[in-house]
Amino acid sequence: MNEIKKTYKNYVGGKYLRSESGKTFRIALKSEFYEVPLTSRKDVRDAVVAAKKGFTEWQKLTPYNRTQVLYRLSEMLEGNIETYQQILEDSGLSKSKAKEDTKQALDSLIWYAGIADKWEQMTGNLNPVAGEYFNISHQESLGIVFTLNSDENSLNQLLLNILPSLVTGCSVISFNGDNSIMALKLAEDINNSDLPAGALNILSGKFDQIIDDVSNHVEINAMAIYKQLPSTDKKIIRENASKSLKRIFINPPVSGLESLLPFIETKTVWHPKGR
């Protein structure tokens, strides 16, 4: 029987889409080539519209519920773990390294699923004030986050680039380059994990083609760059982002509670407590 070859597509607003431009770029896997979507500027704007809706829906879930959704993602992932190992091997990892990486990926996912309903009480607090008030630092998620993921051939790294912003309740537009096949494969399990449409969108392409549109787009609240970029690119991003209140995080932390901090915002609440 002939093997049916897969067409990898972008995942936007809960749907698998080709680039509206019809363009693709080539990624080699083992001895074969795959054509994956070359995301256009219009695709990015559409993803922002989807992420805006996704943010509202993702926010509606209780943190406990978000934990359950991410835990479900880990179940889906585990069920397909061999496919991920195969992609890692086909992209050049040894069998044992591939196995090790997927194991770590599952551990990471479980850790982030667990923290989804705990980060708020860990990062917020009651502040001491000299008066008849409670003063509370209440934590909120930032909004729409664009992540430029690392090109490393690793499922674990991919998840560590996506999850920190996602667990805080942000909606995420995850942009991938050389690691696109892995990311677009992950989209299939995301689709089966009860994540609201648009909460996590996965795109593949060349970042230098969309750098201006993304960094200028006022609706994107933050950009997290997990990939090494030339200093000229960083300059463009910082200049464009300065025109709105967009946050830029270049190579932010990828593990622990620290990794969540860039994506949360503190609101201070005063409340009278009486004598």
């Binding site: 922002v48 549109d213 200028n216 006022v218 609706e219």
Partner: protein, 312 residues
């Protein structure tokens, strides 16, 4: 056809019957024409002009049971100065509210060019006796409304009693002699293209200054096909009577791209004479938000977010 013009813009019932007799609409041709008009590419400078036109043609609308004077105050402020950060953006044409809120809207807009439109005649269903509709309309006018948006009697229309529908509009036009009368067809309920054209012509013959697509209260709002047919009806009516009526599209028009496509239809079918707020209007609540975003995008080259623009 031997038609006698009764007044400036009305036709007698017998002439109206002649006008709506044997109406046919070529559905395939209509859809193809409308689709082809949607493919026009609008370049940057023309786009900016179109966007500014759209703002001046907007009836900023809120028609909810929960409307309060505070909400009307907020909306009229936005109507007068849609984008406080850019004084080049013009005021909208009008605000559209329920009769009970007309006086508040009137008070807020007194030092501006923004008009106050009121829906009446038991909007959105129109299921009330004519006497009540007249009272409803008279009240809105007494409160100071400059324009009145009525609904056609769909009950009479679907029962085939076109005469009753015509007579009601004539009666309401009498009340509205000093103000602009817009007649809402509710195209989403009319079901066939022939019905849209028929209702358009009857409404025009009965003395409407404008015909309007929808109430915005049902899921099937305006469509470009309906707008095209209404434009054709306005043209046909002008050929017969010499009277230039206007069109208002409302219901479900949320983005600039869609709005520009409506402008293309009006420009192509009626000509640029119709491209001003005296003859063409958009009834919308969220369209202005998107238009403001697009105008700013053209200026700054950055796609915008809603939270930098006024609410209302």
């Amino acid at each position: 056809m031997s038609l006698t013009k009764e007044t400036k813009n009305t036709l007698s019932w017998s002439d109206t019957v002649e006008l709506i007799d044997n109406l046919r609409v070529d559905e395939v041709g209509l859809k193809e024409r409308v689709a082809s008009l949607a493919t026009r590419s609008i370049k940057k400078d023309s786009k900016l002009q179109a966007l500014n036109y759209i703002v001046t043609m907007c009836d900023l609308t809120t028609l909810e049971g929960e409307d309060t004077e505070g909400k009307i105050g907020q909306m009229t402020a936005k109507a007068i100065r849609p984008d406080p950060s850019n004084i080049e953006v013009p005021s909208v044409a009008a605000v559209c509210v329920y009769p009970a809120l007309v006086s508040k809207a009137k008070e807020m807009t007194k030092n501006s060019n923004v008009k106050v439109a009121s829906v009446s005649s038991y909007f959105p269903s129109g299921q009330a006796p004519l006497e009540s509709k007249i009272l409803d309309t008279q009240f809105a006018i007494d409160q100071g409304a400059d324009e009145i948006d009525i609904v056609i009697n769909r009950k009479a229309f679907f029962e085939g009693d076109y005469r009753k529908m015509y007579d009601e509009i004539v009666a309401l036009k009498e009340v509205c002699s000093s103000v602009h009368l817009k007649t809402i067809l509710e195209v989403g309920e009319l079901r066939t293209y022939e019905n849209i054209k028929k209702a358009s012509l009857i409404s025009l013959a009965a003395g409407s200054d404008f015909i309007k697509t929808s109430t915005g209260k049902i899921s099937d709002g305006s469509s470009r096909e309906a707008c095209y047919l209404m434009a054709k009806s306005v043209w046909d009516y002008k050929e017969v009577t010499g009277f230039k009526a206007g069109i208002k599209v409302a219901g479900g028009i949320r983005d600039s791209k869609d709005a520009i496509r409506y402008l293309v239809i009006v420009n192509e079918e009626l000509g640029s004479d119709w491209l001003n707020p005296d003859y063409f209007r958009f009834g919308a609540s969220s369209l202005v938000d998107d238009v403001l975003k697009q105008i700013k995008k053209l200026k700054t080259n950055a796609y915008q977010s809603g939270y930098y623009f006024p609410r209302g």
